[in-house]
């Protein structure tokens, strides 16, 4: 086994074993500490994956469209065409690192504060680690059936996180989350086996480019896969699980949900749906584009009318993921690159926003915007960070949120034609609405005279909070100033993918 293969297995095995160990340690604080260490080790194992064999970059006619830097491939269940085939490339690498980072931050945050609700802290950390296994596995899987398997792994642990540590209405929200996303994943299962039955293999490397699938198979498979990923992403009108789940989930749950769990949908759309059924993707692209723009507009309009902090951020996710999906729907190199960087930026910024919203709610015990005025007066640092995150999220140039949204619009306009130009313009209008609702949020929360709930606050931030937020603030700045951090690694695989789409 090569060093890269060892790293790939380690990235999954560390959190998996770590979860078992954390669950087995009876002392709560010690268990949370072990969990945090395991999450840190996972991040340490994920980062060096970048040092891979990039010899694939050299153009050659026979090279497949997916060119992993590292691979690990053993047979698991031959009767079901299931191979334990992992690999990492420029499309998945940034997401893998983001997942490992956010899980580490969440585990560290749990070390400092366990959300109220009844469950023990170590159980929460163990569940977060299992969720991490599922998300990382989804990003690393190069076998369709394995991809589906990891896609499913996330579901119940996340359900338990929401149901065990969430807000007042958590049970309903958790059940809605589980049923909606299971609906998506069973469609994924059928879609996967439509492809496998037709192609006789489940190897994503071999399948990318629609190898030998008939047009009808591709249309059927793409429809199933796209709906499956649209539920997870979520794409309007299948998004209604998201606001409830995000609002009710504990802070760390919201961060993982918004930060990386949604990305499984968009990543799957790029890697699996578009990659395996390009003909279907071309056929469905206008529909996807229209739905994406509808999501942007609906998300922003709903946000303008929101009166609850976490719910507003949740709906803003619908809008932001709309930009990502618009990028994918253009099926151009620019668009897909915009989708990838939009994914990462949204993960960083919305993760930060949910951390901050959680901090505000923990301190004031309310999320109603009307009761949060004057935060600037009593908690200037918190208000400043919230301002920074909001401005980053609305897409100010120089911060991470800008690139994904701007280039999604540019890509749509570049495709040309009446439809795509209109979509680009409407998306730009949506961008302006995004700015409007975030500025409204800031005006309501930071300005005015302090409300009674805010008046009690002290300006200090806990060390654990600073430690959890600082990496996200820095990343938002770094990606904003140097988008090449993401785009550099993603360029070659995206070009290869677009090549087979033609």
């Amino acid at each position: 086994m090569s060093a890269g293969g060892v790293l790939l297995v380690a990235v999954l095995a560390l959190p998996g074993l770590g979860a078992a160990v954390v669950a087995a340690i009876p002392a709560d604080r010690a268990a949370r500490l072990v969990g945090t260490v395991v999450a840190a080790l996972t991040l340490l194992a994920a980062v060096p994956l970048a040092a891979g064999d990039r010899g694939w970059f050299a153009w050659s006619g026979a090279a497949p469209a997916v060119r992993p830097w590292h691979q690990f491939d053993v047979s698991w269940v031959p009767a079901l065409d299931l191979r334990f085939h992992l690999g990492v490339d420029g499309v998945s690498y940034p997401l893998v690192v983001l997942t490992a980072l956010l899980t580490l931050l969440c585990c560290g945050y749990t070390l400092w504060r366990v959300p109220a609700g009844g469950g023990s802290g170590r159980a929460l950390v163990a569940l977060l680690l299992v969720v991490e296994v599922g998300i990382l596995g989804t990003f690393l899987a190069l076998d369709l059936v394995l991809f589906f398997l990891f896609f499913e792994v996330v579901l119940l642990p996340m359900y338990a996180v929401i149901a065990g540590w969430g807000g007042e209405d958590r049970r309903r929200a958790a059940r809605k989350f589980a049923l909606y996303t299971l609906f998506g994943s069973v469609l994924l299962l059928v879609g996967v086996y439509v492809v496998v039955a037709a192609a006789g293999t489940a190897d994503i490397v071999a399948l990318t480019g629609g190898a030998g699938l008939s047009r009808n198979t591709q249309l059927f498979a793409f429809t199933l896969l796209a709906v499956a990923f649209a539920v997870k992403s979520p794409l309007w009108p299948l998004h209604s699980w998201l606001p409830d789940a995000h609002t009710q989930a504990p802070t760390v749950g919201s961060v993982v949900l918004a930060g990386v769990l949604l990305k499984m949908g968009t990543y799957g759309l790029i890697r699996v749906a578009v990659g395996v059924a390009p003909e279907g993707a071309r056929w469905a692209a206008p529909v996807l584009g229209v739905l994406a723009v509808a999501a942007i507009l609906v998300g922003s309009l709903v946000c303008l009318a929101q009166s609850e902090l976490k719910r507003l951020i949740a709906y803003s996710s619908v809008g932001h993921m709309g930009f990502v999906l618009l990028g994918v729907a253009t099926l151009t190199a620019t668009g897909i690159q915009a989708a990838l960087i939009g994914n990462i930026a949204h993960g960083v910024i919305t993760g930060l926003l949910f951390f901050l919203a959680g901090a505000v709610k923990d301190r004031t015990h309310t999320g109603a915007l009307a009761e949060l005025s004057g935060l600037r007066e009593t908690a200037p640092r918190l208000a400043g960070l919230l301002g920074f995150a909001a401005v980053a999220s609305l897409g100010l140039p120089g911060l991470a949120g800008f690139w994904g949204e701007a280039f999604a619009v540019i890509a749509a306009v570049e495709v040309g034609g009446a439809l795509w130009t209109t979509l680009g313009v409407l998306a730009a209008v949506g961008g302006a609405l995004t700015a409007a609702y975030f500025l409204r949020l800031l005006r309501q929360v930071t300005h005015h005279r302090p409300s009674p709930a805010v008046d009690r606050l002290t300006p200090t931030l806990a060390g654990a909070e600073v430690a959890a937020w600082a990496p996200l603030v820095l990343l938002a700045l770094a990606i904003g100033l140097a988008p090449v951090l993401v785009l550099g690694v993603a360029e070659a695989p995206v070009d290869a993918l677009v090549e087979v789409l033609r």
């Binding site: 009767a79 079901l80 009844g118 599922g134 119940l156 049970r171 589980a178 299971l182 069973v186 059928v190």
Partner: protein
């Protein structure tokens, strides 16, 4: 041998060894009860007999296919790999149910000797059923499997529900047997054969027989009669009442071994005897109805055993689903057909394992000799007994077909795969949507286990029940990570 005019058949006693072991167990149990009159010894003998039967089935099966009671090329008793798998599973299920029965027997509401004897008789029927090569052997074996259960269901002294359940079960089951017998008789009338292979060959070779209305009637009666045994909708109404009225270990046996018996019988006739173009549409319709109705009604259940009963109705639909692919021409090619049978059997094996674990979990978390109670009776049970609760939760999640219950997930994957290989994408979608409905109630039960407890009524621990739950859970985890083991055996 067959050329000889003599009517004396040569009998391959090695092939019959598992059946001898099972029947011997029944006799020994009766003798032990008579001589020693100590319930512990009786149960121990029954358990040892079940282990011996499982080992015997495994050993004979590993030695390659054996057949006996042959007339010409047709044999009434064919003990191959699949029969070995079925026999071993029956014996192990019996062992598991014996493990669950401790509390029930100690409460003194059922006599241990009779209880174990009846279970062993039922096991004998199951072992023979897997090897049945003709319609008579098949139906007699199925009756041997079912007959003791009428008594077992009603054996709970002083329980009106139990007696009612026994009567319902008895009446429905007898009608079902009559219907299948009529079907078998009509099939004999049109084909002139009783051996499964012979009937299949005649119907395949002679289109004029195949197209007779009488053949259609015979096929329909036989399939529907057997559908009663698997509790497929619309022949399911007996199951929830019977399961809920029966003692918990007997309900566990009914929903695992008895259901497996129906599936094996149905598979046997559909695989070899009946024309696939006739059975396919019937089975597809049965499968769709069974899973949908089972899941929808299960959503509304408030009693634990009724919920499990309706869920097991729905699970029977998933078992039948791969056979529904036979309705389409693409599903009747040799490879797709073999895949469909293997998928149905594999699903059945995964299912009985998880279902046994689920019943073991409920038994473990309830007071000894209690019935399943309502869902509220299990509220917070997993907080008081983390290991038992985790075992039950894992079984339920497996039945829902989600990780970490990988065994159940792979079972669903197997079914969906075989359906798409057979070109029945629509049926795969029905299965998929049903899996979502199923999650709703399995999740409700699992979440109840972890909810804040209402009253601290700690159930006393029964070590044997916990052991059954532990072994079933470990087995489910093992086949979850290595499903190829089951898939290989089912495909043989």
């Amino acid at each position: 041998m067959s050329a000889s005019p003599s009517v004396v058949q040569s009998v391959d006693h090695v092939a019959l060894l598992p059946a001898y072991l099972a029947a011997g167990t029944a006799v020994l149990v009766l003798l032990t009860d008579l001589v020693l009159a100590r319930p512990r010894a009786t149960v121990a003998v029954a358990a040892l007999g079940a282990v011996a039967t499982a080992l015997g089935a495994g050993l004979v099966g590993a030695g390659g296919g054996r057949r006996t009671f042959c007339v010409g090329g047709d044999c009434s008793y064919v003990f191959g790999g699949r029969a070995a798998l079925v026999g071993a599973v029956f014996a192990l299920l019996t062992l598991g149910v014996l493990g669950l029965s401790g509390g029930h027997l100690r409460a003194g509401r059922a006599p241990a000797g009779e209880y174990c004897f009846l279970l062993a008789c039922s096991m004998t029927g199951g072992v023979v059923l897997g090897a049945a090569g003709d319609l008579i052997t098949l139906i007699v074996a199925l009756e041997t499997l079912t007959l003791p259960l009428y008594v077992l269901v009603g054996l709970r002294r002083g329980s009106l529900a139990s007696a009612e359940a026994a009567v319902t079960f008895f009446v429905v089951s007898v009608v079902a047997t009559t219907v299948s017998l009529l079907g078998a008789a009509l099939l004999y009338a049109v084909s002139g054969g009783l051996h499964l292979g012979r009937v299949g060959a005649v119907l395949a070779e002679r289109p004029e027989v195949h197209d007779l209305p009488l053949t259609a009637a015979a096929v329909a009666l036989l399939v529907l009669g057997l559908a009663f045994k698997v509790a497929a909708v619309p022949f399911h109404a007996w199951a929830p009442a019977t399961y809920d009225g029966a003692p918990l270990p007997v309900a566990a046996y009914l929903s695992t071994a008895s259901k497996l018996g129906g599936v094996v019988a149905l598979l046997a006739v559909v695989t070899t005897a009946l024309p696939a173009d006739r059975t396919g549409p019937v089975l597809a319709l049965l499968a769709v109805l069974t899973m949908t109705v089972g899941n929808l009604v299960a959503l509304r259940q408030r009693r634990t055993v009724r919920l499990l009963a309706w869920s097991s109705v729905a699970q029977a639909g998933y078992i039948l689903a791969p056979l529904g692919a036979l309705a389409l021409a693409a599903g009747r090619t040799g490879e797709a057909r073999a895949g469909a049978y293997a998928a149905a059997l594999a699903y059945a094996v995964f299912f009985v394992l998880l279902e046994l674990a689920a019943f073991a979990g409920v038994t473990a978390l309830r007071p000894p000799d209690a019935d399943g109670g309502t869902l509220d009776d299990l509220r917070g049970a997993a907080r008081r007994h983390p290991w038992l609760g985790a075992g039950l939760a894992l079984a339920l999640i497996g039945l829902a077909g989600l990780p970490p219950g990988l065994a159940g997930l792979f079972a669903k994957v197997t079914v969906v795969r075989s359906l798409l290989d057979g070109g029945a994408g629509w049926l795969a979608l029905v299965v998929a949507v049903n899996a979502v409905i199923g999650l709703a109630y399995y999740l409700r039960l699992a979440a109840t286990l972890y909810a804040a407890p209402a009253a601290a009524a700690a159930a006393p621990r029964a070590r044997a029940v916990a052991a059954v739950l532990g072994v079933a859970t470990v087995a489910a985890v093992v086949v979850g990570f290595a499903p190829q083991l089951v898939l290989d055996l089912a495909a043989r």
